[in-house]
């Protein structure tokens, strides 16, 4: 598999609109760069290949995250400067998913209790079968409440930071 094939495959990771706008141009620039590097040492060519692959993967992930609905901030990874994000929102989907999972666990435990109660207890020496899961319910609820509280406290801290120094720094300059 040639580097050109790899490059074309990785380009497919980008959203279609992005590929439409920049795909051909990126490929053209990559071909020019490849021609430049063709006569260089194997080590230089390897570094070039890795840089291109990493750049494409990182760029594609960034573009995919950028078009996620409800996201305000740009996805940005910079190794050369501290890049601040332009906003923070508590992920509502996380809270919704946690609630759904918790509801599912509670329903499953209740269902298990009903099944256990409906079973005939033919062996009196053993006694009635007790639902073991019922003992798990309080810790699960406690754990969920703890996670909610931790999430809320984390969000509050980040919100407070945004309202104070970091937010002012972000809005005062022309930082992008």
């Amino acid at each position: 598999m040639t580097m050109l094939t790899v490059y074309k495959q990785l380009l497919r990771l980008y959203p279609a609109a992005y590929r439409e706008q920049f795909g051909e141009e990126m490929l053209s620039v990559f071909l020019d760069l490849s021609a430049d590097n063709a006569k260089k040492k194997p080590f230089t060519r390897t570094v070039f290949a890795f840089r291109e692959i990493a750049g494409l993967v990182r760029g594609a992930v960034g573009e995919r995250l950028r078009i996620v609905p409800g996201r305000e901030s740009e996805f940005s990874i910079s190794t050369r400067s501290f890049t601040m994000r332009n906003g923070f929102r508590f992920p509502k989907t996380t809270a919704v998913l946690m609630t759904i999972i918790l509801a599912g666990v509670v329903v499953a435990i209740k269902r298990g209790e009903e099944i256990a109660a409906s079973l005939p207890h033919s062996n009196p020496q053993i006694g009635p079968i007790q639902p073991v899961h019922s003992t798990l319910l309080p810790p699960i609820v406690l754990l969920s409440v703890t996670f909610y509280a931790a999430g809320f406290i984390g969000w509050a801290i980040l919100f407070a930071l945004r309202r104070s120094g970091v937010h002012r720094l972000e809005t005062s300059g022309d930082s992008k």
């Binding site: 620039v29 760069l33 291109e52 494409l56 910079s78």
Partner: protein, 102 residues
């Protein structure tokens, strides 16, 4: 503003350029310290286009009809503001360091 973005804008401040020449110009300006990949370059160009700091046009002089980029008035204004900010910072840093050395 990150260093690569600053170099890209500086590259376009002199004259319009297409992707390949921007990459080479950034490498030259930074003495080989900043070498951008195509993915990084076009990610930055996309953001600058979205913010109307640069604009895209088709080069007429070349046979390939390549897309080129140039600064918009807003982009030039923002670049100048960034340069002014860096000048102030450099001046302050120089004064502080000099005062400490005395």
């Amino acid at each position: 503003m990150s260093e690569p973005v600053l170099f890209i804008l500086l590259g376009l401040a002199g004259q319009p350029q297409h992707g390949y020449s921007i990459l080479k110009d950034v490498e030259r300006m930074s003495d080989g310290r900043v070498v951008l990949s195509t993915g990084t370059l076009y990610g930055a160009l996309r953001r600058l286009l979205d913010d109307d700091w640069i604009e895209r046009f088709e080069e007429e002089e070349t046979s390939r009809g390549r897309q080129a980029y140039r600064l918009t008035p807003a982009g030039r204004c923002n670049l100048q503001a960034e340069i002014d900010r860096m000048k102030r910072l450099t001046r302050l840093a120089t004064l502080r360091v000099a005062a400490k050395e005395r």
